[in-house]
Symmetry: none
């Protein structure tokens, strides 16, 4: 067992330097959706790693470049891979920010900036942890690699192919994921699975131009009606997804998953307060049933609808075009390709061959065994830092590119990070709490040591 | 019988002046749906009438003011009322206009601008007709009144009450309606009936804010889904309106209606070419069946859909709000109030008490007897101007506030105007043909003379 007194002091004493580095990083916009500042940020991140003795490559893809970095350690037979991303969400709506999104601002023990939580803060906290280890010894305890992409916020479009092509370079025994957080009880959380996603746009065009609704209402096809009827066949009023075969490949959750979910606090009240939702679907009121439904059911969500006149008041128009953004969250063994094929067959069978499907991105679900030794190591090392046992969440509702890490590289993937329920990731006033930033750095030190001592 | 050589020459020789006046009028935006420029346009129209010796009043309503104007004529016992409107449809989508909607532009014998056809062009053509008559004699042949409202494009919200309150002021022996046109065979058309309309906005709100779709997809209510399901209950895929009692009050069409419709040309090919529609609804292919369905069936049309993310690419959001604009076209004896009540009861019965209904405007259907002497006068005078007999259409698909004119003021209402099938009323590139503009002015001269000589 290691003694962490010295490294912990180092982390506390060098917090200011680390925040200065994080401030420089957050002051550099890197909005993937707007192709804004990605090359510059890849350079900045590379310099941060090179300064610490890493061999760094900025590797091109068909989109934003991937920064790969590695540094040998005392143990040559053990490699830990950190997955991070240097891109951030768009800062809009700007008027809701209390300080400008790209002018990092410290207020009440929190640092506010776009991307500070998701996930630039985790990256610099990890570097602070490495600094602390390197201050004590001139070598890291094991081989450390970083893969830092620039398209996470737009669906990691080119990452799966990049991983396929660089299996050897990215080889490692385990992976620390880009995010991690504490829950509203301040308990650290270990997320071992992410649902997959298949995001599509459905569109219909019934004529070359809109028609006066007085003229065409009873004789011309209406794109908005076609879209409504087509959507209605996808999911019924009782929330049952009606696409044949959709559920077939799903691997059911286990007794162990249920056990893990049952140990988590009931999120019902938190959800109601935070989002102003009066009631949950399907008569759910909270507890295990709500938790199970939340993550172990696939979804079919309308994310957006658009057709015809949407301004104030009335306009008597019969729309020639209508479209919907629809997002399916997938469970293990479902794939976006399967969903697209089933969706096409279903729409055709229901008489909606005129409804076009455009695939806007996605990837399958993936999970790491909650009882994997690496997961247990990350969980065990968290307890000392956070003063509360880390809770294991067997599956989370959101999605990310963990599939190629788990199934192509064959790595167990564990989460750790400085997020908390008030981080406002993807929203105005994104922030991190400095106390959790320090805790994340301390946790990373312990993970690296324990991993190297195994 | 009058000799029209001199007035016709006057009209032809003063076309340029009249178009200059029309250009000024169309350059002034007057979008009722956006409450844009209505007062200014009412002033502009008032000045145009005052200049011609009319006594003009700008009369307030609870919405846009009504311009009333009158001028005595040689015959004091005969009054003709012109109904026009100074408001126009919203110009959107702007990117589809070949010249800016509020910069009237002359191209190939056509004047392009928002509102130029519907119905600012008819108003100035009517004034040109009066100018021609007043150039020859210092009095108009009969008493002439204008009632020009500013809310026609949003359903004439305040006009019925205005008419109720001003029966004496608006008293007349007959009314010329705001629109009129030729068909694709260049034959002038007489529309003696207008369907009613009930325009509503349906909206649902399921939470206080949007939720990340990864979090909420399977447990949080989704406003877009609620809206889709509610709409789906209104009309089925076979185009059957499913609201109980909706059809009950309808007065069926007569043998005379059928006879008049059968005399009209088949519009099928024209519709397909003009709008790029491949097939009509309900297996209709053309002829009398298409004509009957077009105007003697009530409708339920989605005019617009809006919810969640509608930009480029994907955003994983679960919408808290969704809304649809829906327009019902009504047949004689149906009323907007009845429709709203039936719609509310239907949505409640189908489990959609959460879907709110906002009434955005409308009024019942109304018809003038196709064999009324005034209709016959307008039809007869058209033949000489257009060189083709005017065809009588017993009912038209569109709507307008003719109910209070027919049923409160007791006036026969006849249509006349400079529209044509390529006018693009309510759409980008709205335009009038100058030859038809001249013809409308000449027709109005003849109507006034014949009406005064009766």
């Amino acid at each position: 067992m290691s003694d962490f007194t010295a490294v912990d002091h180092f982390i506390e004493n060098h917090l200011e330097d680390s925040l200065a580095e994080l401030t420089r990083l957050c002051a550099q916009p890197s909005v993937a959706a707007q192709n804004w500042g990605l090359q510059e940020t890849a350079q900045l991140v590379s310099e941060m790693l090179r300064k610490r003795g890493f061999r760094v490559e900025i590797m091109p893809t068909d989109g934003a470049p991937v920064v790969f970095a590695e540094r040998a350690g005392k143990r040559k037979d053990k490699t830990l891979l950190f997955y991070d991303h240097y891109d951030v969400q768009p800062p809009e709506p700007l008027e809701l920010w209390e300080s400008p999104p790209f002018e990092p601002t410290l207020r009440d023990g929190k640092l506010y900036a776009r991307g500070v939580s998701d996930n630039k803060g985790n990256l610099t906290a990890r570097l602070l942890a490495l600094d602390a280890l390197l201050a004590k010894e001139d070598k890291l305890p094991c081989h450390v690699k970083f893969v830092i992409e620039g398209e996470e916020e737009i669906g990691s479009v080119h990452l799966p192919a990049f991983i396929e092509e660089n299996r050897e370079l990215l080889a490692a025994d385990a992976c620390i994921w880009e995010f991690g957080d504490v829950d509203f009880e301040e308990a650290p959380i270990q997320y071992v699975g992410l649902r997959g996603i298949c995001y599509v746009e459905l569109s219909v065009e019934t004529a070359e131009s809109d028609v006066h609704s007085g003229l065409g209402g009873s004789i011309f096809p209406n794109a908005a009606w076609r879209l409504v009827w087509a959507l209605n066949t996808l999911k019924d009023q009782e929330e049952r997804i009606r696409i044949p075969g959709f559920f077939d490949p799903i691997v059911p959750y286990t007794r162990r998953d249920e056990e893990l979910l049952a140990a988590l606090p009931d999120p019902a009240e938190e959800y109601k307060t935070r989002y102003g939702v009066k009631a949950f679907l399907k008569g759910l009121s909270g507890g295990l049933d709500l938790r199970l439904a939340e993550v172990f059911e696939p979804t079919c969500t309308i994310c957006g609808l658009t057709s015809g006149y949407q301004g104030q008041g009335s306009k008597t128009v019969l729309p020639a075009k209508a479209s919907a953004k629809v997002d399916f969250r997938l469970l293990p063994n479902q794939t976006p390709r399967q969903v697209i094929e089933q969706l096409r067959a279903h729409l055709d069978a229901e008489g909606f061959s005129d409804v076009e499907i455009a695939f806007l991105g996605g990837g399958p679900a993936a999970r790491t065994d909650p009882d994997d030794p690496f997961i247990q190591l990350v969980v065990a090392t968290a307890a000392e830092v956070y003063g509360l046992p880390m809770k294991i969440v067997p599956m989370v509702g959101g999605s990310g590119p963990n599939y190629p890490f788990v199934h192509v590289l064959g790595q167990p993937v564990a989460t750790a990070g400085c997020g908390y329920p008030g981080s406002h990731a993807h929203a105005p006033n994104e922030n991190i709490r400095l106390d959790l930033y320090v805790k994340h750095a301390k946790h990373v030190v312990r993970i690296l040591k324990a991993f190297s001592e195994e």
